[in-house]
Amino acid sequence: MLLRTAWRRAAAAVRAAPGPRSEAPARGLRLRVVDNAPQSAVPSDTATAPEVESVLRPLYMDVQATTPLDPRVLDAMLPYLVNYYGNPHSRTHAYGWESEAAMERARQQVASLIGADPREIIFTSGATESNNIAVKELEAAIQPDTSLVSVMTVNNEIGVKQPIAEIGQICSSRRVYFHTDAAQAVGKIPLDVNDMKIDLMSISGHKIYGPKGVGAIYIRRRPRVRVEALQSGGGQERGMRSGTVPTPLVVGLGAACEVAQQEMEYDHKWISKLAERLTKKIMNSLPDVVMNGDPEHHYPGCINLSFAYVEGESLLMALKDVALSSGSACTSASLEPSYVLRAIGTDEDLAHSSIRFGIGRFTTEEEVDYTVEKCIHHVKRLREMSPLWEMVQDGIDLKSIKWTQH
């Protein structure tokens, strides 16, 4: 099989030319080490080309972890990386002025996506920093009746959409601050901070086809929401977040927001179509597959499926040709099953066998079909090997078994 010879050749190349990341885990990264191998190879026309062709990268189906840059975003950023490199806080020359103009334009683009005023947007290094600023606000304004409600708009593990407008309504009537982490929702579902009565919102660049390392926090001005700065220094960003604003990154974030605003409806249609295709095909071909999360209030691009009697990690390793995940990247270091699945009452064994499929703007039908085909094949194969599956086929009820200890 062509793939096997390619892998063997790749493995040989790894042994021959140890790359800088030779100690990294094998899956996926091994391909990247081999990508660098042609550097050492003799650059003759016929030899090099087939070498590069035989190294194949996995398909990308993990958009909840991060998204590729949209070419329109990169196009907007490049001038500020190469030519217009001024510090936006320099007030005395054209380099500073043009950089500041770009920063303010980006601020307007972000604000217009969520229905806010540009003065209410503060640029940060990402949604995590924004979340920290928002929660620290609770400690800043300590009064008997002050509290903060913080809810994720769209969950990154199971794709559930929270009833933000309703929560906002309740919070504003009780005079409680309402923060939402909208990293997975911005640009994907329509959001309006005034309709939904949101006081604080975290935005992440790299979840909406923008650059990594940048985000924003929306802080309501009317009525004023006071936050305490996490980072103190030169007083930039209205004193709420000191530090030079990275113009190329915020330009990228602004461009990503503008593109998202234009493409929201089209993307939603495409992603829904592919999501339907994926779930229908898998559920029609395999028994005992559970979709985690409320099917009605659900963002289609994040599909979390539990395959009974199959261990999630082994399925992920079997699907090495597809970049997938079994839960959020935040918790990937631990062996615990996802806290989200546990919270929605999923059985322990089903929680361990969950896989998250991410479908985004750039995902194609072919990629979905390939993923579905491989998934069905490997689930069947793993179930064949599973003694639990055998017992179930024989009609034994697993819940009635008393497991003894040795």
Partner: protein, 127 residues
């Protein structure tokens, strides 16, 4: 500028599709082709000439973006993906990738041209 005729719109459509096929990254290439087709199809019944001109102008800007990005990204290694048959695009760029001393024909900065520095104008000899 005269209002865009049907022929001009079709030319633009073909040019955009042609240019998009030069993206070496599979996901960008497929998205661009699909989006262009769907966008032109969606707007095919627009009658208002002002609206048509706005759409044409936007398409022209997008065509420029595609052209710049295709060139910028040509210097990135174009690796194939699992399940894809290797589509030979930017073949020479692929081979020139790791040759010592080779660089992409145009520096990225030139695509985003900027005005000259003040002293560069003064260097010109007076006639």
């Amino acid at each position: 500028m005269a209002a865009s005729s049907r022929a001009q719109v079709l030319d633009l459509y073909r040019a955009m599709l042609r240019e998009s096929k030069h993206f070496s990254a599979y996901n960008y290439r497929t998205y661009a082709v699909r989006r262009i087709r769907d966008a032109f199809r969606e707007n095919k019944n627009v009658k208002d000439p002002v609206e048509i001109q706005t759409l044409v102008n936007k398409a022209k800007r997008d065509l420029e973006i595609i052209r710049r990005q295709v060139v910028s990204l040509k210097s990135m290694p174009a690796v194939g993906m699992v399940g894809r048959t290797h589509i030979p695009s930017s073949g020479t760029a692929l081979r020139n990738l790791y040759l010592p001393g080779s660089s992409s024909q145009v520096h990225i900065g030139q695509l985003y041209s900027t005005d000259k520095l003040i002293i560069e104008n003064q260097e010109k000899p007076r006639t």
